[in-house]
Subunit: 206 residues, 2 copies
């Protein structure tokens, strides 16, 4: 952020004649190039005085000197395929490792944590992996993805049992060779079932 030593989460304005969901799609596309990925609103942040510091040296017209709301959205993308793009008010834009997050401006840390919490929670109800894994992947691949998001290890056997129980995969008749051990079976997502599961959810509640 120009004139600030702190990083911030990427964001942008909502156009006066733009739906907020469309704004999220547009901003994601502008800043990352990503399209048609999982993108969901999770929470709106609207505390006053969100910027603790004295910002009077900045022009009054700048957004974070006025009253504003941040409608939080999070997206799931494959970071290797994404090149972050700087915007007008920033000096840099890049990926950061979640285990080495720098200090962030205003309440962005809190926003990040709310997004993470929502995402972990959603993991129980919505399938993930499409767009995050290659077209063909193995169960250990998928498990690593879940473990990364949850930040903790999962039991192999039980993970596989649970996932396959969801019945959203297409099993291929081939394995991925490589490594001095048994080869894992390759799967793809069954798009029809995957999309259906996204809508109806993986679990019933009551």
């Amino acid at each position: 952020m120009i004139g600030q030593e702190h990083w911030g989460l990427p964001g942008g304005y909502v156009g006066k004649d733009e739906n907020i969901d469309d704004a999220a799609i547009r901003i994601l596309k502008t800043r990352t190039g990503a399209e048609k990925v999982f993108l969901e609103q999770f929470k709106t942040f609207g505390n006053t005085g969100r910027s603790e510091k004295d910002l009077s040296y900045l022009p009054e017209s700048i957004w974070f000197r006025q009253r504003f709301l941040s409608v939080g959205y999070y997206a799931l993308v494959d970071y290797e395929q994404i090149i972050p793009v700087v915007d007008d008010i920033s000096t840099a834009c890049e990926w950061k490792n979640v285990h080495e997050l720098p200090d962030m401006m205003m309440d962005h840390r809190q926003i990040y944590e709310a997004a993470l919490e929502t995402m972990r929670f959603q993991l129980n109800y919505k399938p993930i992996g499409y767009n995050l894994l290659p077209e063909e992947f193995t169960m250990p691949d998928l498990q690593k993805l879940y473990e990364t998001i949850l930040g903790k290890p999962l039991s192999r056997g039980n993970f596989q049992r649970k996932m396959l129980g969801y019945d959203i995969f297409i099993k291929h008749d081939k394995e991925r060779k490589g490594g001095a051990h048994r080869s894992p079976i390759l799967y793809s997502f069954d798009q029809v079932k995957y999309q259906a599961a996204l809508k109806t959810g993986l679990k019933e509640a009551w």
Copy 2:
């Protein structure tokens, strides 16, 4: 709503120097008198053209002719203890039966449905009942509350087993007499455990 034949959900403006959570608390208090009840943000609505009708006969300054966002909050209150209060731009404000909901302005129907969905979902993770039931209540009372929210009947025995398993109640050594049948046992919420369950959630996820 003045000049409109349709009803709307109660709402209000956020002050320029007011946190949105505080605004929700204030508006709830103003319109219902309720304080210190369960009140939670669930979703933000920001489509353009949310009012389908031609509103050009109204002054441009009126809020729903301009661009606006609605940050949705829902509260749980005992409707017998609440008297809805009219605001400046409305002609009436009253309770409606959810099974006989009138047509609502703009996207308020959608907002209502999102709130209901969130609430039903949360039922699995957060205890409810405090402020909605009298200080002392029975398991059948609580079950009726759940059934009302979920809109479907639940099995008696299993409901009781599950609830008591949460261990958030204080069991009293008395029953509520009345009716030609066995008297149900009276319970209260254990405030410490109840509040703890509100924070940590009733279920673990992964």
